[in-house]
């Protein structure tokens, strides 16, 4: 027996092509996902240098950030957005890369359609010019965001020059109480370790509460891993994973599938494997979380109050809290459940999957969105939209007063027509509450889909467990 290895060690070892220097390795990339915002300069770089895409068959492209979620049939009106999407379409045609166009039912947010299509498989290395690539770690694949120069590097060579990260394990024990979700676990962890808490590490999530999560829940958790500063999040694949992958269009077919599962079952951390850092959490003690400030680490249980800058010992944090309170228009000491919202956004690569939409439907069925609230639901992909409609969820949403949109990144980052106006306050199922993230001057409170639904009904941040 060799030295016990972590799941990250195993995936890393099986992808090392060569060692360049003491710390720099050439790592093979199995899957490269491409979208319109971070790829034009990379394709241009290839053209200038006369290089080809090494493995178009391992590459996959879709436009999501700039895509409007209303009247898509009319196309994109913003000329810059249109140019970026047209450029992606032209580049994928030129280099022979598979692409789902804006009229294809299978299109959607890149991190939703990867898993949905079976492009995401356990044990793979997956990259994309997008930080939320960490989502795919839910399958036990090593997945992380890269910059545009690295996109070009992967297109040309199917490899990346990487240094190995450290190992961190976050163990979540016990059972999640009713009304508490994967999003709350994510916010609780980030609140605990901070947005730089995972810097330099790959986080493996373990424990009963993680095992009990659906694939959708695991994706939400791994998606938010980047908000803790970690390079990637990982969850060892199990029956839940294999069941999800089986039969998807790009998944291994019968015969090979069994061979793949046999290998995937070896993808877990060995007994006694060394982690550089360990964090533990008790799921049974968690309550729904909300953020009050302008960093995902500004997360607190809904039963709490807005903190005062003087609550922070660190001078930098104190300054950040002061700035955040001013930007967010909040007063220290006010109850979080007294914060009124005028927008609710449900969707994004964090929470735009079918299970998220079902959770929303459960909360709002038979209720109405408060008249002062503008509430939209944006499915993560065309297939999520179709499935939701097959289940009749769209009728529940519309009866309650939600707008039911077409798929895209939407109000998560305001690169398309969906955005907040200055001073607007939004309960959002997305992943970042940075200044201006959802629109210049917009104020974001990150919550789970169930909590967003509750806020839509009451018009203020609300503990979903108390909503009758």
């Amino acid at each position: 027996m060799g030295t016990p290895r972590t799941l990250y060690d195993k995936i890393w070892d099986s992808h090392v092509v060569d060692q360049l220097e003491d710390e720099a390795y050439i790592l093979y990339i199995d899957r490269h996902l491409v979208h319109e915002v971070t790829s034009p300069q990379a394709f241009e770089g290839l053209r200038v240098a006369g290089r080809k895409v090494r493995r178009p068959d391992a590459t996959f492209a879709v436009a999501d950030h700039n895509v409007p979620t209303k009247d898509i049939e009319k196309g994109i009106t913003d000329p810059e957005s249109k140019l970026q999407v047209d450029t992606l379409e032209a580049n994928t045609a030129e280099f022979g890369i598979p692409y789902f166009s804006m009229t294809d039912d299978r299109r959607g947010i890149v991190h939703i359609i990867g898993p949905e299509q079976g492009l995401t498989l356990p044990g793979m290395t997956i990259v994309c010019g997008d930080s939320h690539t960490s989502t795919h770690g839910a399958f036990g694949s090593l997945a992380h965001g890269i910059g545009t120069s690295e996109v070009e590097h992967v297109l040309a060579t199917q490899t990346l020059v990487q240094e190995k990260a450290k190992n961190m394990r976050v163990t979540v024990h016990g059972d999640l109480p009713l009304g508490v979700t994967a999003k709350d676990i994510a916010l609780a962890i980030i609140g605990k370790i901070g947005t730089a808490g995972g810097t330099g590490h790959v986080i493996e999530y373990a424990g009963d509460a993680i095992r009990a999560l659906s694939m959708e829940g695991r994706m939400t958790l791994c998606n938010m891993t980047i908000e803790a500063g970690a390079r990637a999040g990982l969850i060892a694949p199990d029956e839940t994973t294999f069941e999800y992958v089986k039969g998807r269009p790009y998944a291994p077919k019968a015969g090979t599938f069994e061979q793949a599962v046999a290998y995937w079952k070896t993808l877990n951390s060995d007994e006694g494997a060394k982690f550089d850092m360990e964090v533990e959490l008790d799921a049974s003690e968690l309550i729904p979380y909300v953020t009050w400030g302008t960093s995902p680490e500004d997360a607190l249980p809904i039963t709490g109050s807005v903190p005062a800058p003087s609550d922070f010992a660190d001078e930098g944090k104190r300054g950040a809290a002061e700035r955040a309170l001013k930007y967010m228009g909040l007063t220290a000491g006010m109850k979080l459940s007294d914060i009124e919202v005028d927008h609710v956004f449900i969707g994004s690569c964090t929470n735009g999957r079918i299970e998220d939409l079902r959770a929303v439907a459960k909360v709002i069925e038979g209720k109405k969105v408060k008249s002062t609230v503008n509430a939209i639901i944006v499915p993560g992909s065309g297939l999520v939209k179709i499935q939701a409609e097959d289940e009749g969820l769209d009728k529940i949403f519309e009866a309650a007063g939600f707008e039911w949109r077409q798929p895209g990144c939407s109000m998560c980052l305001a690169m398309n027509p969906d955005k907040l106006a200055p001073g607007d306050r939004c309960a959002s199922t997305s992943n970042r509450n940075f200044e201006g993230r959802q629109g210049h001057g917009g104020r974001t409170h990150l919550v789970s889909p169930a909590m967003a639904a509750a806020a839509a009904v009451t018009g203020h941040l609300t503990d979903v467990r108390e909503l009758g």
Partner: protein, 201 residues
């Protein structure tokens, strides 16, 4: 990529923690299909009023710091998205070096691909450099990458760590893709073996 070896320049103080990529370059400027021209949009939300006029209080709008080529910033600089537009905007403005106690992983990588040197220092050294930077145009800071040294205006020297590969890339302005392409045989060999072991990939 432009090489980086030595730099003596004005350093602008930004004592905020968690300066995220949305602050460095807001999303409305990500729609470009070029690498150049983003300097005018660097820190746009903090730098300009709604009518497009400059905010006097923002550090890079102050006469002493308009030509700053070094930023001295609070913990966890560059957190958030993978957008390389962040280093492109810094570079286009003229910033070649950022000093902080820590950097977000993807931003850190992106800097090295663009000839920008991110330097990690201790909290004590950061506050010293922050004080130096606050003295304005009369107090320049010198960086020597080869020697791994920062020299303050009063002659004090701070040694910094950097990994060998990234240092080499910056010093030589290395074409990383070209370097990897020289390993074509190894990549092909790897692909062959993998095809046997994991035919579903």
């Amino acid at each position: 990529m432009e090489k980086f070896n030595k730099l003596t320049a004005v350093a602008a103080p930004m004592p905020l923690v968690n300066i995220d990529t949305d602050m460095i370059i807001p999303k409305q400027y990500l729609k470009t299909i070029q690498r150049k021209g983003l300097g005018k949009n660097l820190f746009a939300e903090m730098r300009y009023n709604d009518d497009g006029t400059e905010r006097e209080e923002f550090v890079l709008n102050q006469p002493a710091y308009r030509n700053a080529e070094i930023l001295v910033a609070g913990d966890n600089f560059g957190c958030g998205s993978s957008r390389e537009h962040a280093p492109w905007a810094l570079l286009d403005f003229g910033v070649r070096c950022v000093i902080s106690t820590s950097f977000a992983d993807i931003f850190h990588n992106n800097c090295f691909r663009n000839g920008i040197l991110p330097i990690e220092v201790s909290p004590e050294d950061l506050s010293k450099l922050m004080e130096d930077a606050e003295r304005g145009a009369n107090a320049t800071i010198s960086i020597d990458l080869e020697a791994q040294e920062i020299r303050g205006p009063d002659g004090g020297v701070i040694h910094f760590e950097i990994d060998h590969f990234n240092k080499h890339c910056l010093l030589t302005g290395l074409d990383e893709i070209g370097l990897t392409m020289k390993k074509e045989d190894k990549v092909a060999e790897y692909e062959e073996t993998r095809k046997m072991q994991q035919p579903w990939l």
